[in-house]
């Protein structure tokens, strides 16, 4: 059950996000003074001198490097957490995330294929999306054939499809040119926001927003889907189309984030659990709370990734280390109440 009132929790999560935003703008190997940040930020709204009020390297770092990276990081984090919370509800299983369900691996294969074929960014995204959706279709079909969409079969099918696409990714890497394509694939797969540019942020954010908005709006429906097909149907829900709409949105967000920043695991699994512990299981609150928490989490992890050591640590590695550790603590402390059957 909820620990604190919903309103207090949402305000606290928003404050956390605001602090994470400020921290990831000012901290890093090139420190930016809070006063300079304020001057630049006010400048965006036409107040004060803006860029002219700070040294050129300062505003260049903020506007051309940190802000795009921040936007992409926050949206990817929010999107992945939203996907996790949605999938856990739709599949009535708190162990599901975009990775378990095969979507990430599918999207990764699509992306790797695009890099291998030397295609551009648009093709990479399209291939990642198509392959992600294909993976999801395979999982749903397999679990359906194996009997009434049992949750165990679903997770097993997800593991199998994930393994299949991972194998295909390995195969593609094996054939890749070790001088240029191979490193590109390997670093892309490990996940990073280092490639963030203002242009990338501009075409990436609308994609995530377009897919996230329906999910956020249909969050009451996700509550009902989480009761199981038969009950949802008895409550008057058109189950299949509703579930497909949710799954397509999840695939869109996952593919967009994989296409942009590689596989960043664990966010979709851990953040919804964390959020559920704070605001309770009602998806009407859980979905926005997961998105806020996911954004903050991703910003802080990215901050660690780029400032802990001289070189940049791949994000996927850090989220796995941090996520797995946090999850262990959560599991240790959790009463099984929240996900017992």
């Amino acid at each position: 059950m909820t620990v604190v009132s919903t309103r207090v929790a949402m305000i606290a999560l928003s404050v956390l996000l605001a602090l994470s935003v400020v921290a990831s703008l000012s901290l890093g190997r090139y420190g930016i003074a809070l006063g300079d940040l304020k001057t630049i930020a006010l400048g965006w709204f036409g107040i004060g001198p803006g860029r002219a009020g700070v040294a050129e390297p300062v505003w260049r770092v903020v506007e051309l490097v940190r802000v795009p990276r921040l936007l992409i990081g926050a949206f990817v984090g929010a999107g992945l957490a939203l996907c996790g919370a949605t999938l856990q509800g739709v599949f009535r299983n708190p162990l599901v995330d975009p990775h378990v369900i095969g979507v990430s691996s599918g999207a990764a294969f699509g992306g790797v294929a695009a890099i291998l074929l030397g295609l551009g960014a648009v093709a990479l995204w399209s291939l990642a999306f198509t392959a992600g959706l294909g993976a999801l279709l395979l999982v749903v079909m397999m679990s359906r054939r194996a009997g009434r969409s049992s949750v165990l079969m679903l997770v097993l099918s997800g593991v199998v499809v994930s393994a299949l696409f991972s194998a295909l990714v390995s195969l593609a890497t094996y054939f890749a040119d070790p001088n240029d394509t191979l490193p590109a694939i390997v670093f892309w797969l490990m996940g990073s926001f280092a490639s963030a540019t203002p242009e990338r942020a501009l075409y990436m954010l609308p994609i995530i927003i377009v897919f996230a908005l329906p999910l956020l709006l249909m969050r009451f429906r996700i509550n009902i889907l989480s009761l199981g097909d038969e009950e949802a149907r008895a409550l008057g829900l058109n189950v299949e189309p509703t579930r497909w709409l949710a799954l397509c949105c999840v695939t869109g967000i996952t593919a967009a984030s994989v296409a942009n920043s590689g596989i960043i695991g664990w966010v979709g699994l851990v953040i919804p659990h964390f959020a559920r512990a704070i605001v309770g299981p009602d998806h009407r609150v859980l979905l926005p709370a997961s998105a806020l928490l996911g954004a903050s989490y991703m910003l802080l992890v990215d901050l660690m990734a780029r400032s802990l050591i001289a070189a940049e640590i791949p994000l996927g590695v850090l989220t796995a280390v941090v996520g797995a550790t946090v999850f262990m603590v959560l599991l240790h402390r959790a009463r099984s109440e929240d996900w017992q059957r």
Binding site: P214, R219, F220, N223, P281
Partner: protein, 256 residues
Amino acid sequence: MIEARAVGFRHEPALPWLFADLSFSLAAGQTLVLLGRNGRGKTTLLKCIAGLLAPSAGEIRTAGVIGYVPQHFAPVFSYSVLDVVVMGRARHVGLFASPSAKDRIAAEAALDQLGLGSLAQRSVTTLSGGERQLVLIARALASEADILLLDEPASALDFHNQAAVLSTLRRLVAERGLTVVMTTHEPTHALEIADRAVLLHGEGVAEEGPVAEMCTEAKLSELYGMPMRQLSYASGAGEASHIVASYAEIVRARSA
């Protein structure tokens, strides 16, 4: 209103009929019970009426919103009682909308009507079986159901809670003119609240009629394949009947 015409069901064409050629009609404000041994199609018939399963033959027509109350309710997530009852409003909430204040008020009214107002913020997973059944009935009421379909609403409940569920149903029928269909293994419940009864004998044999004609010693003994006895007694509320399984006649005979 429920109208069933020559309804039959079998899981596959190669399998025998569970029930066949079953016709009945139920007016608003009437209660029907479905009786029969395990696996003879009680729940199946209930799901056919609910529209969750398609009958293999015949047709069932219903007029009004249906509220289906499943036998078991074990959500994966520990929603609060109010959250669960608000979900009954799904029909009245658009795809991309969230329940409004009006929906919340309807849910709270349904809870109050069943005397569950104080449980609103409790997690459903912490409720007793009896409380859960009442919460599900409240959810059906919040959906503004005209027809209530209940799958063994009193099974696994102690006597006190069974009485609570039965009297609630009876009150709702009287106050709101609800049409109720429920399955049960307790013929006494049928005598106490039902107008009509369906006996599902299996292998395609089913009959329907007024409860007084269906729930007799002879018919029920045949239905359950063991002697059933009707006991009449003077209760505090007047003349009452109890139908019991005469275990003595079976157990003693077999162990002798």
